[in-house]
Symmetry: C2
């Protein structure tokens, strides 16, 4: 079988200038990173009178392998271009930690990929690296302030700014630093997160301009002082230097799909502890350049989908014209109770049981009063009976399901999906947000639980209750909520598959992200630093004397 | 006064393709990083029959502020081009840690700078970032091997591979990792170095090809097992993945000086714990493209100079045609005993006393039987009497001293220096190495101490003696020695300025660098992770809404 990287390496790749021309960008709008990658300058002119149509791709609750959301996003966009709809894609950037760890590449699959695949999966244009060093320079500046007389009276036990690496490194989760005597810092407990979890990542992907980026960086709360008052980056006086470090990272990156669809890949925040979608500037740039923009939000509709709609849309100034929910036969069977190792075997009973999961995701997305379409991402073992069962179920829920074979056929495998989606974007619709910004924290979280997850209530731990009181005093309580919960269940219990009922969401801790502008509500322990598996992907990746890379998939 | 960054921002900058044309490079030889930076592909064709003339710029023992070695290197190259000698420069890349810490920019100064200055001082083309993540991925893989059953039987107390960041972060010098229970690693002592100190940096800058890079990475010793046997990257099976991560970092970076001299800036190893010069591939590429190549080696001739000649030259296959020693009036007065805060005041007595330092550096370089020229880097407070005193001293030592005002005048201030250097390169000379590779470790270190530093003997600590015995058993003892000692003295005592006599060098520890191919001999405690000062440069760096950066100098 041809591997993803072989398909990517054998593909015809266009010079990026030629890809850019498809959406009216000239060389002056581009900063080249080799012949096939470019950053788009922030001065690029709007080419059209109106913003393009916005298509959000989200998904049902996935199996641990993922359901091919990026693959469908890319295939759908290629299909839209094939059917004469001028289209761009906006995706997140892969993180190198997982690339070297479990999963290899993260740029679509089969004949629905973005290229140059290896570059995008590795350093790309350096955005993650810029975030890493900016994050860690801030950490060093905080510890240096402790070391040099502690003028801000920081309580060294209450520093909440962690260091980051774009590496899956479990041994750095819990560490002690500042050992080795008085010239080597102040001893304290600390830990590293993966770069994607840095608040700077969330900030970079929500900023509307370089100066908005700087203003947000100033607002970051890094610690509390001995009187429990928040200490910000502005107090440290280093927002300018951190912004300088991110001056290029804020510019969207242009690459192409195998079908030469202009593709912006920019920013990579998680969809549990952050908003989980590509950057606001990338999405906005795509909307200004193309008639149709297909974008993707991480994990299921309960995580990335909801966050796109309630955290990003208010800043974007544009609501989606159509929402696509990606479902697979195997994930539905998994949600119905079928074991992971038998998912390739047909089983209508398990599939039927699992459809409740799709039902809740459909309901959650339909409540925004935007057209919703289900894309069934076809796998080779799927039977017609299984596919028909899903289609009928969706039809009974006032929506339409379309099968697409994007992995095997690329854009040609998603023509019907593209036509259905394009038609849906013409529907008149009035976007109905989940909550208003002036709603209380309690009102917001209740709507999340009942209208999106299908649960009945929520519980705040003692710590979270105390924090909420503190946030109210500080005036932080009106920010949107970013719920950090498992992606495997609509509830906060990863074992409760399908569509659990009568459950409560248990919030154990709140994390204020003043720079990003949201409150993270943690349910249980969400890992912000992954580990490596027993046999990491790094052990099979290689390169030969001609520079040909193998094993990166 | 106009600051360095203002001069750089106001300068006329050429598209990098136009700079490349000056040495016969076409667009096909370049991978663009924006309009003013490019990597040179490794397939670039040799344009000339013969390699160019090689000019090595080194220095006397410096003041803590440095003596403008890079500035002289750039000014000399611009002057060579002004006098119709087709010239390239090869320099090291700045490290962001110091840029955000004490020193601001590190790209020359005044009218002898390389541009785009801010880009080069920040992420540049991502080489340091690639090294950081490759280094730290290796560290995570080592700890993961411990975590997952420890198949290589690594002694967790004998892991010598440290993590790195390109940040001045003293609090990470001594840490404990792997805390937090059995799912978060194996607890052990550890520490971070700055990226420039990574063995991968030394390896990248000594590799002759991508496959040589991989072979060197395989040889890196990362730990010892429970039987005290070395454990290598090859044993871990991840050399391929690490090489993939460095596939672009190995390519030299092309920029320009203010005089539009094509300038390769590539690699940034320290001159104490590593070889301290730009990459072998950059120097070699420049020699293949230009008639004259001016390159610089870190710290004084006793550190970077000697390492260039004894570690890099044997791999380069080209010996220098002229060696330039940079001296300043103020550093000579400092070496003569004048205090730092009075260095701008004329003082012939202190200057005369300090000339002994220049004498020893001259003697050390002259022993290689290559023409040596002293470049006096003029400062505004220098008097004619002071300059004449130096010139006479040098003449009495069978060499020539030329005054250059590169900071104030750029290449125009170094015309006489350029003519003198160009003439010297025509001298027939037979390079005489300090030692032969088959010399014993003891013979090599003795020659270093007596012929280069002007001392009488050396002492190995008990630990170093034990290590040497082990290295002899393992067959590691024939590699060149990289002496890690203070840059402030020819001896290992930073307070012994001038030209100390009758001293011994005290080696406390040996560090085998099998990938880089040398043995580091540590004298006293050499800091491999700097700290930040009380008021870091980061606190004065800023950027405005037009993207104009201030404070980066």
């Amino acid at each position: 079988m041809t591997t993803d990287i072989e398909i990517a390496q054998q593909a015809e790749i266009w010079p990026i200038q030629k890809v850019a021309e498809k959406v009216g960008l000239s060389e002056d709008d581009l900063e080249m990173y080799g012949p096939y990658k470019a950053k788009i300058t922030l001065n690029e002119k709007q080419k059209k009178q109106e913003l393009g149509k916005l298509i959000l791709v989200t998904a049902i609750s996935p199996t641990p392998a993922g359901e091919g959301k990026s693959t469908v996003t890319i295939g759908l966009a290629d299909a839209l271009n094939l059917t004469d709809h001028q289209t761009m894609v906006a995706l997140r950037e892969p993180s190198m930690g997982p690339v070297m760890g479990m999963k290899g590449g993260a740029t679509g699959g089969g004949y629905s990929q973005v290229i140059p695949m290896a570059d995008i999966n590795l350093h790309f244009t350096g955005d993650f690296h810029a975030l890493t060093i900016a994050n860690n320079t801030l950490a060093a500046l905080i510890d240096n302030s402790l070391q040099k007389g502690n003028p801000l009276q920081i309580d060294s036990r209450k520093i909440i700014w962690k260091r980051v690496l774009d590496v899956n490194d479990r041994a750095l989760r819990h560490i002690t630093i500042g050992l080795g005597g008085p010239t080597s810092g102040v001893p304290r407990e600390d830990g590293f997160d993966i770069t994607a979890a840095s608040e700077l990542m969330a900030i970079l992907t929500l900023s509307t301009s370089l100066m908005d980026l700087k203003a947000r960086i100033k607002r970051i709360v890094v610690a509390y002082d001995i009187n429990n008052k928040p200490v910000t980056v502005d107090d440290l006086g280093v927002a300018g230097a951190l912004t300088v470090m991110l001056k290029d990272a804020i510019k969207p990156n242009l690459v192409q799909s195998l079908g030469h669809t202009p593709t912006l890949i920019h920013g990579g925040p998680f969809a549990n502890i952050a908003q989980g979608t590509n950057s606001l500037l990338a999405t906005k740039t795509a909307l200004r350049l193309a008639d149709y923009v297909v974008t993707e939000a991480g994990f299921g509709s309960d995580l990335g989908g909801e966050k796109f709609l309630d955290v990003k849309v208010p800043l974007l100034g544009k609501t989606p014209d159509t929402i696509v929910i990606v479902a697979t036969v195997r994930a539905l069977k998994y949600n119905g109770g079928q074991s992971l190792d038998t998912l390739t075997q047909p089983n209508l009973e398990m599939l039927e049981a699992g459809l409740a999961n799709l039902g809740q995701h459909l309901k959650a997305m339909q409540r925004y009063q935007t057209p919703v379409i289900v894309a069934i991402n076809r796998f080779t073992d799927d039977t017609e009976a299984e596919l028909d069962l899903i289609k009928n179920f969706v039809q009974n829920h006032q929506a339409q399901a379309v099968v697409a074979d994007v992995w095997g056929q690329g854009g040609s495998g998603a023509i019907e999906l593209a036509q259905t989606v394009a038609a849906a974007t013409e529907t008149e619709s009035a976007f109905k947000p989940l909550y208003a910004s002036e709603d209380t924290f309690e009102e917001k979280i209740e709507k999340l639980v009942t209208e999106i997850y299908g649960g009945v209530d929520y519980e705040l731990s003692d710590q979270a209750q105390k924090q909420l009181q503190q946030f109210k005093q500080l005036g932080w309580d009106k920010m949107p909520i970013v719920m950090a919960k498992t992606q495997y269940s609509l509830s906060d219990n990863p074992k409760a598959l399908g569509a659990p009922k009568n459950f409560k969401i248990h919030v154990c801790e709140l994390v204020p992200k003043l720079g990003a502008g949201f409150i993270v509500a943690l349910t249980g322990s969400i890992l912000t630093m992954p580990g490596l598996p027993k046999l990491p992907a790094a052990n099979r990746i290689d390169i030969d004397e001609n520079g040909v890379i193998t094993g990166l998939d």
